[in-house]
Symmetry: C2
Subunit: 456 residues, 2 copies
């Protein structure tokens, strides 16, 4: 199917939901250390959803299913520096625009238009000036902007065939990156080398990383963006790395593997608990199921496993109610995935939370990013984990509060398990689910095999 | 030498040049597609020069050689997500600060302070608000801000021992990246794969690219940031890739090599002309020499070579005066290199152009980024090139204007030479120069040997 057909379908669906015009800006690039040295350009995801291709300094106006494109033709000198670039008319034809104009003409088409602020300051300032109201990316939308945001959420929550094609590509390249990463461990001396091997797969497919990679032997630091640690034989390496296609669709995979190629018995015990939680959650995914219940299922399986190992003491269900699982699994079971790795998180919880629901302030639930009944076409991550976070486990208040529920001496025997996470991308289907990242093994023995093959 | 000693020396030198207080902000990270998904943080180079390490959301105040650090202690929850991070006092000790305070206290230390605007909008807006004057990164500095900019330029124009240590590291890793890139050509099918192999070397050393890599079989597009072309046996591949160390110091290298491992005779003819220009320029580099004359030397050697090949007709010196070289070499011979790949270009031409000099509007000179007499400790690039840019060579006005000076039929025989550039990083020494990137071969036969070794 031609891209313009998909795009036409998307805007027709939008027109069924709202009756006012919409202008979406693509955004502009951010300067790094001087104006000409910019970070890679990344268009607004809402723009990409309706315009399909990454255009810089462009806007589209949508009304009653019609698409107007606003973009300037390339500067005459541009060919010298940037090569032949398509003209406005060529772009308009490609995306099926009904009309195409210079960006300066946008000012004549602003009336009653709703929008969503773009992340870069140059663009949201421009949006604010043109539409004559403050449009700050971190501020909740109001009025028609809120209606627009809700309409877009309802479209983007479930993925059409064109989106799934891209999401599968991102998943497939990310799977390959993880396989190469595991293999690279045999010779790598530092975390940075594993990261390099993995990101090279992504770059080599002309994709980008969808987010800053986590590649670390300190998996207990949840957002660890350092790569300087050396790899020691007893370490587990946690890699959370995902690709993004040229048109912006993301994957998000985590694997944890032993640097030596072989889990210790304590590492394997915990790994198998995390995997059991992972498998139970995926098993349960189906239309109508509450994602919040999936989270609680993971919490319960982890609590059960830790009781079995003698680390926790009590009935798993009771322990979960008291947030005991969150001592070791302090984040949510996953999130929406699409054009953004945390899909539509620029809209706060508007996408993640069903209307009328709010985040819990319970320690064990406050980080849950998705709280909706699942529907066919939704893509979510399932990413249970186990972490020994010093900031949590060494907190005297926590140790005091839970002194009879945690066997701290027993826990000390698992000191070689700092952080484990297993994350896959799961599509909700009509009858259940499909794991888009299933080509990447996650059983402990299969992971060991991948690691050991590289050693031969 | 401890970093704090270098930093103290730098701010003492600054204190000799100006007698007002200075506040330099580090900057903050830019959001990519949603607030939590940011581009990698890159501090302001001026901040890095005096603070030494990449601190986010920090500011330093310099007065009479004293350093005050303003940064907030990590949030108590920060350890969970980002691990243990150093406290304000630990950072202060590391960089030799005389005093350290929370960022909110900065407002009591603003009086008469000069500054330089940072690139990210959140920070330059904050700078503007606090100092109560508009500080736009693209606007020329005025008053004390201009005096400060000139003082910093005079310091950063020549590199101290600590800077050179970092610059040599960046050069060495970039050399390795190019060697791997040449070797990767044997099996690669697309430009993206060469880029991946080269950037993996940089990432693997826990460095970043100093600028968006150019890796293309269309070298005639000067700022080509696409990587989707397939590699054909007759193609030349042009790679302009450089590393940046963790504390921000850059390298900038270009090599051009044959995809097949063997230059065609026409490719080799042109390659040898570009290399002759490159070698002649480096040969001439010494204290006191005008960089503008180096540019003209490159232009003359290229014009001579093209006359010898029968592509240009006339006396080389006359052809250069008429900008004939610029038909094929439409950019400058190079630029300053340091913390920025175009060092201090955030200050416009304040660093590149000696006081009182302005850019020429001549076609053959307008892109010259550096126009100063050379001094020991300056690091510059030397990067002559030859390009067949359709936008220039197919321009009817240009073809008409130069119809008797270019042998267009002869030129057609060189159709397999779309773009060649050879770029090295050259330090001006007391007696001449030292090529920091000399470990990477540039002779045609040596390049072929590197490429052919990989094929075996």
């Amino acid at each position: 199917m031609h891209i313009s057909t998909t795009l036409r379908h998307r805007r027709q669906r939008l027109a069924e939901l709202i009756d006012f015009p919409v202008i979406l800006w693509s955004g502009s690039s951010n300067s790094r250390n001087f104006p000409a040295n910019t970070f890679p350009f990344r268009p607004s995801s809402h723009f990409l959803y309706f315009a399909g291709i990454p255009l810089q300094n462009a806007a589209i106006r949508l009304e009653s299913g019609k698409l107007q494109l606003f973009i300037d033709d390339p500067h005459p000198n541009s060919a010298l520096w940037h090569g032949e670039t398509p003209t406005r008319e060529e772009i308009a034809a490609k995306i099926g625009a009904d009309d195409a104009r210079a960006i300066a003409e946008l000012e004549h088409y602003l009336e009653n238009a709703a929008t969503i602020p773009v992340q870069d300051a140059a663009t949201w300032t421009q949006q604010s000036q043109l539409l004559d109201r403050w449009l700050l990316p971190q501020q909740p939308p109001q009025g028609n902007d809120l209606e627009l945001a809700k309409a877009i959420v309802s479209l983007r929550l479930t993925h059409d065939a064109a989106a799934l094609l891209e999401l599968r590509k991102a998943a497939s390249v990310s799977v390959e990156a993880h396989k190469i990463g595991i293999a690279a461990t045999a010779t790598a001396k530092r975390e940075a080398e594993i990261r390099a091997a993995m990101e090279a797969v992504i770059i080599g497919h002309n994709m980008t990383t969808a987010y800053t990679s986590i590649v670390t032997v300190h998996g207990e630091v949840l957002h660890n963006n350092h790569y300087h640690h050396s790899l020691q034989p007893g370490d587990l390496l946690l890699a959370d790395v995902g690709a993004e296609t040229e048109t912006g669709w993301a994957a998000d995979i985590t694997r944890t593997w032993p640097v030596s190629g072989k889990f210790s018995s304590t590492q394997r015990d915990i790994y198998d608990i995390v995997l059991a939680a992972h498998d139970a959650c995926i098993e349960k995914i189906a239309p109508g199921v509450e994602y919040g219940d999936i989270h609680l299922l993971a919490a319960t399986v982890i609590a059960e496993g830790l009781v079995d190992l003698g680390i926790l003491q009590g009935k798993p269900e009771d322990l979960v109610k008291m947030d005991l699982h969150a001592l070791f699994f302090p984040h949510g079971i996953g999130h929406l995935l699409g054009l953004d790795v945390h899909d539509m998180e620029d809209l706060g919880d508007l996408a993640g939370y069903e209307e009328g629901r709010k985040r819990s302030d319970r320690f064990g639930l406050s980080y849950l990013r998705l709280n909706r009944p699942l529907r066919p076409g939704m893509l979510v991550t399932i990413e249970p984990g186990f972490y020994q976070v010093p900031g949590i486990l060494n907190d005297p208040k926590i140790r005091d509060q839970y002194q009879y529920l945690v066997n701290w001496e027993r826990l000390e025997q698992f000191a070689d398990v700092r952080g484990i996470r297993i994350e896959d991308d799961v599509l909700v289907t009509e009858t259940g689910s499909e794991v888009l990242t299933a080509a990447l093994p996650n059983q402990a023995s299969a992971i060991e095999e991948l690691a050991m093959q590289a050693k031969i």
